[in-house]
Amino acid sequence: STIVLLFEAPRDFSFSLQPGQRIRMGEGLGSL
């Protein structure tokens, strides 16, 4: 199963992720 998030955000929104990394519920995905 998969969850896809699609969202609008200011252009300076940046992800703090790496493709393929393991993540847990509640961990930060990105910030402004």
């Binding site: 199963s1 699609l6 393929g20 995905l29 910030s31």
Partner: protein
């Protein structure tokens, strides 16, 4: 005895040795070249015929049969060996489970829906957006030209994924589907894909504070969504059964979509008792909308009048076997 021993040793044969080592070397070179070619041209995609063939498999029927099987209560003596095999195969961390005693779970379906101990998933207060689930980040980034990347280099249409805009949200002055979604020209559209492996905790939570205005359920195929298949089948997320929750957050449009798969075919949303997924019959290409916002000629119950408010980290729903 020395002379007898030397007679028994095989004579060195340089030619076959040369052929084997040379063959291995050429095979390795070919493998390396193929790897480089894949990096340059992108991953190998399934042809439309291959996808059509895959779709002829009764994945929904298999999924429901799998669900029924896993809904059968196991005798107490059989629970521990069956769940232990599952734990060992998929690397489940039972120390995080709210109930660690394996005898407690009546069947595999119940074990799959296990809850976690309250403190094991702290919700990041510093980030405005948090992960809705445990899993692996398949892809993330900015949406360009109304196309979303499924994996690197393979895109799918935003319109096919979300379905047509409702008349309420459609802006006649905008030129693209993507622009229709944006509330401000200074903003962009972003996406993140989280893949949940069989051993992961399978509930999903609200990634931010937001209001869900509508749900759109797309019945569809139930192909596997593992990363290998996501790299192979283009538009996989538009073909599979999914539930789109859409609404608004502090920066405008926000949506969370749960995509089903063969093993995990049904999706439950806690605040929506009407939602029924992985049912035997459906019309290809159809979708079912439910608005949580009361319109002028529609009187809804009080909690739904302005949509469903969700807080960051709040449980939203779960995936189920079959």
């Amino acid at each position: 005895s020395l002379s007898t021993g030397s007679r028994m040793l095989p004579r060195p044969r340089p030619f076959p040795l040369l052929v084997v080592t040379g063959g291995c070397y050429l095979g390795y070179q070919q493998y390396k070249r193929r790897g480089h070619r894949d990096e340059e041209t992108g991953p190998h995609l399934a042809t439309p015929t291959q996808v059509a063939l895959y779709r002829t498999f009764p994945t929904r029927l298999v999924s429901r049969a799998w669900g029924r099987l896993n809904g059968l209560d196991l005798p107490t003596w059989l629970r521990k060996p069956i769940y232990s095999l599952y734990i060992w195969t998929f690397g489940v961390n039972m120390q995080e489970a709210a109930v660690e005693d394996l005898h407690h779970y009546k069947n595999l379906g119940e074990f799959f829906r296990r809850r976690l101990k309250p403190a094991v998933r702290p919700v990041c207060a510093a980030s405005c957006l948090t992960s809705p689930a445990d899993g692996k980040i398949l892809h993330f980034g900015r949406v360009k030209n109304s196309e979303v990347e499924q994996v690197k280099g393979i895109t799918y249409s935003l319109e096919n994924f979300l379905g047509p805009q409702t008349s309420r949200s459609k802006d006649l002055s905008s030129s693209s589907f993507q622009e229709d979604l944006l509330s401000s020209p200074d903003n962009d559209l972003f996406h993140v894909v989280v893949y949940l492996a069989p051993g992961d905790y399978h509930c999903f939570h609200s990634p931010t504070n937001w209001t869900v205005e509508m749900r759109r359920h797309f019945p569809g195929a139930l192909m596997s969504v593992n990363p290998g298949v996501a790299r192979w089948v283009k538009e996989l997320f538009c073909l599979n059964e999914r539930v789109v929750l859409r609404g608004q957050w502090q920066h405008g449009f926000f949506s969370l979509t749960a995509v089903g798969a063969t093993n995990v075919g049904s999706i439950r949303v806690y605040f929506d008792q009407e939602l029924q997924t992985n049912t035997p019959r459906y019309n290809k290409g159809s979708f079912h909308d439910r608005s949580y916002v009361a319109t002028d000629n529609q009187v809804k119950s009080a909690p739904e009048e302005g949509g469903v408010s969700l807080h960051k980290g709040e449980p939203v729903g779960e995936f189920n076997l079959g």
